[in-house]
Structure formats: C-alpha cells, structure tokens
C-alpha cells in the first residue's frame, strides 16, 4: 500500500502563487482520486476556502490548540491526500513546530509522505526561507516551484539544485479569468472542447507535472 501524501505549499512571501498552486493541486487530486482534504492556513491572503469550500477546512497554527487540530489530522494514514495552503505569516512558526515535534520522523513511521512545495521568489526573505527548508527537509521531500509569473526566468541558483517544478506564466487576461472564485480548472478541461487553447494546455501541463511528482513519490517509497 502506498503512503498518504501531504502536500505543504509554502513561502515566507505573499502573492507568489501559493493559493493558485493549492487550487490546481487540490482539483487534480480530486479528479484523480475522487477525494482530497485541503486546509487553508492562509486567511490573510486570497483564500483557498473561497475557491474550494466543499473540500477545504480552515486551520490555525498561531496557537497550540490549532496546531493539534491540524497536525493530528495530517499524521493519519487514511489514504486521502492532504493539501495545505500555508500563509506566509505562519511560515516560520509552522516549520519551527514541525522541527520541534519531529513531524518528518513521525510521518515516515506512520506511512505519511510529506512533500514541501516551496514557491520560489527572487528576494532575500525567500532565499532565507528556502535555506531553512533545505536544512530541515530531506531533498527528496522538498520541491521548488518555479512560477514564471513571479520569478520571470530568474530563479536563484541556490533554489535550482533540488527538485523543481516549472509553472508557466499565463497572459494577464487569462490570469484574471482563472482568479474568478467560480472558476474550476477541472470543469474547464471537461467543458472546453478546444484543447488547443493556451489555458487548456496550461492546466494539462500542470496536472501532468503533479502526476509526475506523485509517481516519483511512489517510486521513492517503493
């Protein structure tokens, strides 16, 4: 039996595409598995809860009770993939807590596969955040998302050594289109007959990247 994946999408910076990635990944997992549990710890930014209210719960890691509510769920091997949209304001606290309570070790013991998806940016705060993660997270569990909309082809060298997932930039008008609260990537794939559109290809390309990521996870754990 394969491990239960827990995807943690994070950055110490706002507006780098965390919620967009969380939406894409949640919709992909829902399409593929029929079920996914998403957690929104991002209430100070555009919220995953507003986009995917049926599969998203809010969580708070500012206090111990909130941490228990979240982490005690994440550590259960129930076969349902989890997606965490981690707000920039709790980046330090969340990973400090993970380190302190031994999350990665316990996860390995309980057949949970945490994957940290770090949203790259070119500023110093992001560089420091990535460095913190490199020290704490094994390379196989750390994936840097090269979001072209944010990084503009200037991915810092230090972030380019480990596992990378490239996300192409969309033209502004399409970005506005997908940012609407009622927009669903899967519904778009299902309903748009013309598969040659830029958005169609963009969604399919990202779903394919997630599938490859998932496969590499299975191979790594087998």
């Amino acid at each position: 039996m394969s491990h239960t994946p827990v995807y943690i999408i994070c950055s110490p910076r706002p507006l780098v595409g965390k919620t967009l990635t969380a939406r894409l990944l949640s919709e992909f997992l829902l399409l593929k598995n029929g079920t996914v549990n998403s957690f929104d710890i991002n209430l100070k930014e555009p919220s995953l809860l507003e986009y995917l209210p049926k599969i998203t719960e809010t969580a708070d890691v500012d206090n111990t009770y909130g941490k228990m509510q979240l982490m005690d769920r994440l550590i259960i091997d129930d076969g349902v993939a989890k997606v965490i949209d981690l707000g920039f304001h709790v980046f330090d606290e969340f990973f400090r807590m993970c380190d302190e309570i031994g999350f990665l070790k316990e996860a390995a013991r309980r057949r949970i596969a945490p994957v940290i998806l770090f949203m790259a940016d070119t500023d110093r705060v992001s560089a420091r955040g990535h460095e913190v993660l490199r020290e704490q997270i094994p390379p196989a569990n750390l994936v840097t998302i090269d979001n072209e909309w944010v990084v503009r082809g200037e991915l810092p060298v230090a972030m380019s050594h480990g596992r990378l997932l490239h996300m192409a930039a969309l033209p502004s008008f399409l970005k506005v289109y997908i940012d609407r609260l009622t927009f669903s990537f899967t519904d778009y794939l299902r309903n748009e007959k013309d598969s040659s559109t830029e958005l169609h290809q963009w969604v399919r390309k990202n779903y394919l990247s997630f599938r490859e990521l998932e496969l590499s996870l299975i191979l790594q754990k087998s």
Partner: protein, 251 residues
C-alpha cells in the same frame, strides 16, 4: 555492590517545580536503566506518587520512623539510587536532620553519594536560600536549578548578586530546565503518567493511549533538552551507572 546514592530535590519556596524536576530525574534514570526508588514528602497525598506510583512511597520526613524508612534501608535495598522530593519549606529542616543523624558526615567521608537539586524561584528569597543551604553542602554535589517550566523570568535577580551567592558553595553547578508548552504540560498532568509514557503514547497501565501527536512532540523535545542538561552534569556517572546510552525517547 555500588555506593548508595541519595538525591534530594527541594526548595524552601513552593510552586517552583520541585516535583516536575523529580519526575524528569525518575524518567531519566528509567531510560538509562538505573534502578531507582523515590520518596514523596508531600504527606499524606503526594504528587510524585501519582506519576510514579510503582517506585514512590509517601513519607513524612519530620518523623523518625519515616527517616529510618529512607536512610536505614540505603544499603539494604536493591535500587541504589534514592530520589527524595522534599516538599516546600522543608529543604533546610531536612538538611539539618540529615546533619543530625550523621548522614552528611557519611557523604563527606565518601560512603554515600549525596546530591542536592535546589530548585530556584525568581525571588531574592531564593538567593537567601542558597546561603542557608550552603552550610550543609560539604561532601554533597550541589546543583542549582533554574526552572523555566512555569515561565519564571528570574526578573528580580542581579547577575552579580547571584554570582556572589553561587560562589559560596564550592563546585556548585547550575542547571536550566527549559519551558514546556503549557497545553502539553497540562495534558501530562491530566494523563497522570510519567513524561516518558506520554511520549510513548501509553496510559497508566501501559495500554495504548490517544494523546495528541503535537503535544507528545513538544514533550519529547522538551524532555530531550532536560536530559541533555543531565548528560552535561554527567548524572549517570554520579550515580555510578557509567556512560549514558542512546535513549529511545531522544531524537
């Protein structure tokens, strides 16, 4: 047979965490396979006994019969390490009693290993306690424990004043017990199990429990920090158990 070891944990002030430190000591010895017995002087109902009922006996240290129960059996019983959790206000009188019965002389002559863990509070009164306790410390290993578990700030202390008291006792060593997350501490209290059992997710009878993974993680991390302090002062060497082995509870 190894030399008997007596460890007294105490303070003249209440609420500074004496029993918490005693509990960490019992867990430490248990993890290092050092057979230990404990006496709880919070007669008639002891907190230490609630957490470690199998190895703890409640005694009234002011009575001769209970003093005999502790000290006359030092050479006779199999656990060679005895931990005594001395209730608030009783440290100085207890040490005076030990002097009177000749126990301190026995420690001085090397027949017994004697250690005192003096738990300090944030007030200046704690520094006066050091001065008072110093009179009894010849032949004993003396550890001054700054306990931050209940968020003590030690705000009243001036470092120079502290040092002047600290240096009155030859070979005194200070120890720091870090703060433990309040909710984690509370949950262990509610569970009434040793810290080690809480970390291992076990109940009072070793049955599987369902404690929060987060809280267990906090306790494990904290306990590892406390034990690293005990390793630093070479506590296992002090009790004659040799080098501290790798323990399951540590990361």
């Amino acid at each position: 047979m190894s030399k008997p070891v007596v460890i007294v944990v105490g303070a003249d002030k209440g609420g500074v965490g004496k029993t918490t430190v005693s509990r960490t000591l019992l867990d430490y010895f248990s993890a290092n396979s050092v057979p230990t017995r404990a006496f709880d002087t919070e007669s008639p109902r002891g907190t230490l006994k609630r957490f470690h009922p199998d190895i703890t006996e409640i005694v009234d240290m002011t009575t001769t019969s209970d003093q005999m129960k502790i000290f006359d059996t030092l050479n006779a019983v199999s656990p060679s390490v005895t931990v005594i959790d001395v209730r608030a206000g009783l440290l100085s009188p207890a040490l005076a009693s030990l002097r009177d019965i000749g126990f301190l002389d026995a420690a001085k002559s090397g027949q017994i290993t004697f250690a005192v863990f003096h738990i300090l509070g944030p007030s200046i009164a704690s520094l006066d306690e050091i001065a008072e306790t110093a009179n009894f410390m010849q032949g004993a290993k003396y550890f001054l424990v700054k306990n931050f578990i209940n968020d003590t700030q030690f705000f009243q202390w001036d470092q120079a004043t502290y040092n002047s008291y600290f240096h009155r006792i030859k070979d005194a060593t200070d120890l720091v017990i870090p703060k433990l997350n309040e909710m984690a501490y509370e949950q262990v209290e509610v569970a009434s199990v040793p810290f080690l059992k809480f970390v291992a997710n076990k109940g009072t009878q070793d049955e599987a429990a369902n404690y929060s993974f987060v809280l267990r993680g906090y306790v494990r991390h904290w306990l590892a920090n406390v034990w690293s302090e005990f390793d630093r002062i070479k506590l296992t060497d002090l009790v004659g158990a040799g080098k501290a082995p790798t323990r399951g509870g540590e990361r």
